[in-house]
Symmetry: C2
Amino acid sequence: MHVTFLGTSGAVPTTMRNPSAVMVRREGERFLFDAGEGTQRQMMRFSTGFAVSHVFVSHLHGDHVLGLPGLIQTWDFNDREEPVAIHTPAGTRRRIRDLITVTGNEPSFPVRVNEVSPGDVALDGGEFEVRAFETDHRTTSVGYAIVEDDRKGRFDREKAQQELGIEPGPKYSKLHNGESVELDDGTVVQPEQVVGPPRPGRRVVYTGDTCPTEGVVEAAEDADLLIHDATFAEDRRERAGQTGHATAKQAAEIANRAGAKRLALTHVSTRYAGQSGRLEKEACEVFDGEAFLPDDGDELDVPFPDTAGD
Amino acid sequence: MHVTFLGTSGAVPTTMRNPSAVMVRREGERFLFDAGEGTQRQMMRFSTGFAVSHVFVSHLHGDHVLGLPGLIQTWDFNDREEPVAIHTPAGTRRRIRDLITVTGNEPSFPVRVNEVSPGDVALDGGEFEVRAFETDHRTTSVGYAIVEDDRKGRFDREKAQQELGIEPGPKYSKLHNGESVELDDGTVVQPEQVVGPPRPGRRVVYTGDTCPTEGVVEAAEDADLLIHDATFAEDRRERAGQTGHATAKQAAEIANRAGAKRLALTHVSTRYAGQSGRLEKEACEVFDGEAFLPDDGDELDVPFPDTAGD
């Protein structure tokens, strides 16, 4: 998976940071998490491609959704025909519809609006799911976790051929798929003899705006990447609680409890403009993994856990 | 007056051009003409200041108004208390209200929505007016002209003192204000003897999206600056007509007929990305004055006509 941070500002943008949006690309598909004002130009600027199939809205505050109508209008101008799905918290379908038609524009391609509640599978992608989970932002909100299925264990080709004397061919796939096979001499080989344990898929978690909360700890268990609200530093912990946000340190504590490997801090308040290193430092001092505060346009690859060190 | 081009793209933005918005500053007041998506960040990027008192909306297409809700939300976050007036074509008040509250945000400062029809004075500023005029964009639309009152003629201090023997004092203001004065020796001096003819104020005209139309010719009579739709080049004249836009050449023809001094081309279609010189050339070949196609962030001063050569 490939992640591009399109907008990393808090509610008010700056010259350096656009309002919230994160693009995730996975095997040719593009998923957009939130779409603050100006997201379409960020997509152009950072060359992420435009063919988004699913938009996941964390909540309906302006800095997370005001880029939607313009993006949809541009798709329309570009003669888009493919449907797009907008996933949004339960009870907000009507407001999403109002938003995307607010200037009287009815898109000529299908826009499906899918309401989700914490625990719902927003998208079943076959070998992965995007699951909604509970967040706490003092308004109707959810976070989203992209969770890949486990992959088959590694097939030990050398052992199969040289030790057990199985010739390459259909028997290899059978074994890899978990079936036993009988050799010409009557020997039965069990898949466990040549196939390693299942290898975990990847997990990328986007909280949207939230206070520190158990829902995130559960959703981000062993996550390869946790993208967490870090609107404030510890000096504003009280303010963070009042406004439904987290401090960088709180985000790090949540990431530790979840056992996440990497933590991306985002939704930075304008008060830390030019001193975002302070938030990063605060998180790094606490977090056992790798914490960082991306700039707009920063990208990263999320490798499979078992190849991360390759 | 000082003009900053905040957004010069057509309906679809590019990496270089934001959707429509023009900022005009006049004696400490800031007027915003249209506010496409991303306008607030353009204001930050180009340091125009944020204290806009009046927004003039040409029409309700997304690329001209989708920056409004975010801008108003940011004013709200910044604890704005001063009212803002949004001038908008007759019949669109409800849609403006829906737009600025689309994410459920009710601004805590007063937002006055003023519907205007062609011929209306949208804003009476005392020594200037902003007048709405007729445009033709295949939808409810208006253009806006900032028209300053004539200023008093120049007072010929040298003649008054040395030739007519009037001592500096209250008699000077009387004469400058158009009253005759009687000197100690009984001579009566008429104001015409020492005061030149009234000097014209400035006129800056913003069309928004429009086909070539008589309304613009009238509104832009002797304009110091005409900012005109130039979505297409002549190769797309038919397409321009169908979509309610003008070509660069058509804009130049209108500017000639109006006797405008300068012509700014704007609302450039993505199809001319990287070749905007072509539009500029097309207009310059026809226009008797100075035609140019601004980039986002370009600024210019509009001096008084009688000091333009100083």
